[in-house]
């Protein structure tokens, strides 16, 4: 979503780079002292280091994740891989995922010298339970939280199989500091954490961190870490391409030319997996998409390769599996029946599907079984150029069937408040929640539990797909106690997804990051994707521990 008139300008700046044919020197004397600079496009910050409250500078720029650590490290690119113990030695779940037993790591110290204990874990989780403002992961779902020796037992009021990762990613704060503060408004200027770095200085446009000398893990080799705030994507893109910032994530159109070509030896862009996708929601309750044959036919003529290359500038990977699952994250979850089945453009096949369902032609025009020409509108907020470009390609696909599709950009706020929730659209692109299993993606698209009639506010399932079998299977997946049960439920969901086409997945949207190995190396690579490559997440502590200086 890039609603920015300046985007065109960014290309210009980068064109300037290309003309010089070399990468500019890193500014400000960074090279000698080997500062690792992380860039973020979120603008100047206010001094608020609270790692729990959404919107604080430390979360916005991401340095909270270098100072505070999570219970476990999860590799989002391979969700089946067992999580790596971090502040917790282990987390054991009961069969229906309503209780987690967390064992605290021994020998960890807070950066002020106090010992880290299981009480800190229990306290940090209790904070979320007691303050609904901070409880963004498990609203109203915490039960009792108890401590026994170095073990913390956390109860949940509902099964959390699909949310286990959210518990692993909770940041832990010290009880001896936070107990006397109002956790919601505490500005936390000192930042006492367990992480590999401690806060050195804060200024609105840059925050510097220095290594934590008493770090429990391997001593970090990055001499100094700096988080720079840029005002928008164009500013960050310029900083990354000139080497001024060496780690960050932003959407860079045509990144191979604009970014990597500036210094192919050091610059890289990697994708971090996950289950996030963008979906063309089809309104299953109004014409023309109330007819499953037309949904299937449209699905067969959408050129996803073109969408990914043209509209997504090659940044967002193409979806190839008919199940809509992004790969490689989704590899382990694809049903036996659909293994290796790939999407392809098949206009003749689509026409056959339509003919079988009673569609006819008047000249070039597709006529539905009721005798009316097939027309529809594709809607998205104006300025979301990647979405609108994708819609244009979808409209071309529809035209190849003889259906008349028009792309209609509308005002963003109208789209958010009227179009999407009330179902006032025929087809519209929207993202899905990432999640750590395919559950979120399918549930967001087709879960009957989210079904509300047209005209009422929907949270998900904007296309109003309803199938009790699917609703049941999604509920089973969440509550099941064994992998076999879960896969069986998922098989049902995938079959309906493929056959009924409740929505059309156009591309996957993995966590993408750019970095430069000019000063430090050891980031996740395409060959060794050991973690989500973005600096703004608990994985930052893991990545920072793997970085080594390059000479």
């Amino acid at each position: 979503m890039r609603k920015n008139i300046l985007a065109a300008g960014a290309v210009l700046v980068v064109a300037g780079l290309a003309f010089t044919g070399c990468s500019a020197d890193t500014g400000g004397g960074d090279t000698g002292t080997k500062v690792l600079t992380v860039g973020m496009p979120n603008g100047p910050q206010q001094e608020n280091q609270n790692p729990l409250a959404t919107g604080s500078a430390s979360l916005s720029l991401g340095y909270a994740f270098a100072v505070y650590e999570s219970l476990m490290q999860v590799n989002e690119i391979d969700p089946t891989e067992a999580p790596t113990p971090w502040l917790a030695e282990s987390v054991e779940w009961n069969a229906d995922s309503t209780q987690a037993v967390i064992t605290a790591r021994e020998g960890v110290k807070w950066s002020d010298g106090e010992d880290f204990t299981a009480d800190d874990i229990a306290f940090s989780i209790q904070l979320r339970k007691d303050n609904p403002e901070l409880n963004i992961d498990f609203p109203d779902q915490y039960g009792d939280i108890t401590v026994d020796g170095n073990q913390v037992t956390v109860n949940f009021t509902t099964g959390q199989y699909v949310n286990q990762v959210k518990l692993y990613k909770l940041l832990i704060v010290p009880e001896h500091i936070w107990a006397d503060e109002d956790a919601v408004t505490f500005a936390n200027t000192e930042m006492i954490g367990t992480g590999p770095f401690t806060l050195k200085t804060f200024t609105p446009q840059a925050v510097t961190l220095e290594p934590n000398e008493d770090y429990w893990g391997e001593e970090p080799k990055v001499a100094e870490l700096r988080y720079d705030a840029f005002n928008d994507n164009a500013g960050l893109t310029t900083a990354l391409t000139s080497g001024e910032a060496q780690w960050g994530w932003t959407f860079i159109p045509d990144y191979e030319q604009t970014f990597i070509a500036q210094d192919p030896e050091h610059y890289a862009q990697v994708a971090g997996g996950g289950f996030g996708v963008d979906v063309l929601y089809l309104n299953n309750e109004t014409k023309p998409f109330d007819n499953v044959a037309f949904r299937q036919a449209l699905n067969m003529v959408v050129d996803r390769g073109d969408i990914s290359q043209t509209a997504g500038y090659g940044v967002w990977p193409e979806i190839t599996s008919v199940t809509g699952l992004p790969q490689p994250s989704g590899d382990a979850f694809i049903s036996e029946a659909y293994q290796g089945e790939e999407l392809s453009v098949d206009v003749d096949g689509a026409k056959q599907v339509l003919a079988d369902a009673g569609y006819t032609y008047d000249g070039d025009k597709l006529i539905d079984p009721d005798g009316e020409p097939v027309t529809f509108t594709l809607t998205n907020p104006s300025g979301w150029t990647d979405y609108l470009d994708a819609l244009g390609i979808i409209a071309e696909g529809a035209a190849s069937l003889g259906a008349e599709a028009t792309v209609e950009p509308i005002v963003q706020d109208t789209w958010f408040n009227d179009t999407i929730p009330f179902g006032n659209f025929q087809a519209s692109l929207h993202w899905t929640d990432g999640g750590s299993t395919p559950w979120n993606m399918y549930s967001n698209i087709m879960d009957g539990a989210s079904y509300v009639p047209l005209g009422e506010t929907a949270n998900w399932n904007f296309g109003r797909y309803r199938n009790d079998e699917v609703t049941q299977a999604l509920a089973t997946y969440k509550a099941a106690a064994s992998d076999e049960e879960r896969q069986a439920a998922l098989d049902v969901v995938q079959e309906r997804f493929v056959e009924d086409v409740p929505g059309i997945v156009i591309w996957s949207r993995p966590a993408v990051a750019q970095y430069s190995t000019a000063n430090y190396t050891g980031f996740p690579t395409a060959e060794d994707p050991y973690a989500n490559p973005q600096p703004t997440g608990p994985q930052a502590a893991l990545i920072l521990s793997k970085l080594t200086p390059t000479e």
């Binding site: 603008g43 959404t54 500078a57 609203p139 005002n231 963003q412 408040n417 993202w431």
Partner: protein
């Protein structure tokens, strides 16, 4: 005295109207802060978080618009502006205090430079009308009609990226911590130079044109001819007689442009990643951050009103005719 009292009453009413409009307009806009935040994160904040965010921003309780309006006045009268959503829990006042000096400093200086140079050039061009000097007009107008962001990006592309003379972004060297040291002040000046130059180049045409046209009119006045007939030096006639009379409208538009400095620099701040009030206003509008939006609108309103008052007073002093009762 009656003149000034009447003006004062007028400004008090304007202030009340402005505050009221500032309060209602953001709330008439469709959308709400929580959805804006979730939208901005596109799937990275799960929808489960919505309830938590509503409580955090204090949007969970149902308060009538009228009650909110009264609360807002109560806050204002206590000299508070509320707490920003985007930068929760930072008070709006702090956000503005941090951002305003940068904008006023950079754009204020740039405006003064632009006004001074533009007026001087306008004087000279107007005095020598019909000569080669007139060719300055289309050149400067060209730069002011080029969209500012384009001009600024071209400047970054040439002077920062290709030549490396100036930094491409930021308001000071990011490795420095603000302090009253030569190093820091020097860095602020160095980082501000390119943005300031682009502002001057893009805004100077208006000053040149305004001054030049007044000069042309005034030059044909009798008193200028008389001054020349007295045998005064060309320079004295140009500056002491023609320019002095031509500059009045310039002064009033200068006062007004000082008022607009506060709000009108959004594009510069975005292109140069310069910290300032325009960027915060932009963020606030995008995030539906009502308190911050209102706070910044209020500052802009106050600045424009104060500039108007200043212009009124200056005019009242300079030109007795404005004080005369109808």
């Amino acid at each position: 005295m009656k003149f000034f009292l009447r003006r004062l009453a007028f400004y008090a009413i304007t202030f009340w109207a402005a505050v009221t409009i500032n309060f209602f307009i953001p709330r008439i806009m469709p959308g709400d802060p929580v959805r804006a935040l979730i939208a901005k994160n596109q799937g990275r904040i799960s929808t489960d978080a919505e309830a938590a965010l509503r409580v955090l921003f204090g949007l969970d309780a149902e308060t009538s618009l009228w009650q909110q309006y009264l609360d807002y006045w109560a806050l204002l009268l206590r000299g508070e502006l509320g707490i920003s959503f985007t930068y929760f829990p930072t008070p709006v006042l702090e956000v503005i205090q941090q951002a305003l000096p940068w904008t006023v400093g950079l754009v204020g200086i740039a405006t003064i430079i632009s006004f001074t140079i533009g007026t001087l050039i306008g004087t000279a061009v107007g005095w020598r009308r019909g000569t080669w000097a007139d060719s300055l007009l289309p050149i400067s107008t060209f730069f002011s009609s080029v969209p500012y962001f384009w001009l600024a990006l071209v400047a970054i592309s040439i002077f920062s990226v290709t030549l490396g003379w100036f930094p491409a972004s930021g308001s000071y060297d990011r490795s420095l911590v603000p302090a009253w040291s030569w190093e820091f002040v020097g860095s602020v000046i160095y980082y501000g130079t390119l943005p300031a130059i682009t502002i001057v180049i893009s805004s100077i045409a208006g000053w040149i044109l305004g001054m030049r046209n007044m000069m042309v009119t005034v030059s044909s006045e009798d008193y200028v001819t008389v001054a020349q007939a007295k045998g005064l030096s060309e320079r004295t006639v140009m500056l002491g007689y023609a320019a002095r009379n031509s500059v009045l409208p310039q002064v009033s538009s200068f006062a007004l442009s000082l008022g607009f400095i506060v709000g009108g620099t959004l594009v510069m701040e975005i292109v140069f990643s310069y910290q300032g009030i325009g960027y915060f206003l932009f963020t606030a509008v995008a995030a539906k951050d009502y308190p911050l939006m209102q706070g910044i609108f209020l500052v802009i309103t106050l600045a424009v009103l104060l500039a108007n008052i200043a212009a009124d007073i200056v005019y009242g002093v300079l030109d007795p005719r404005t004080r005369q009762e109808g």
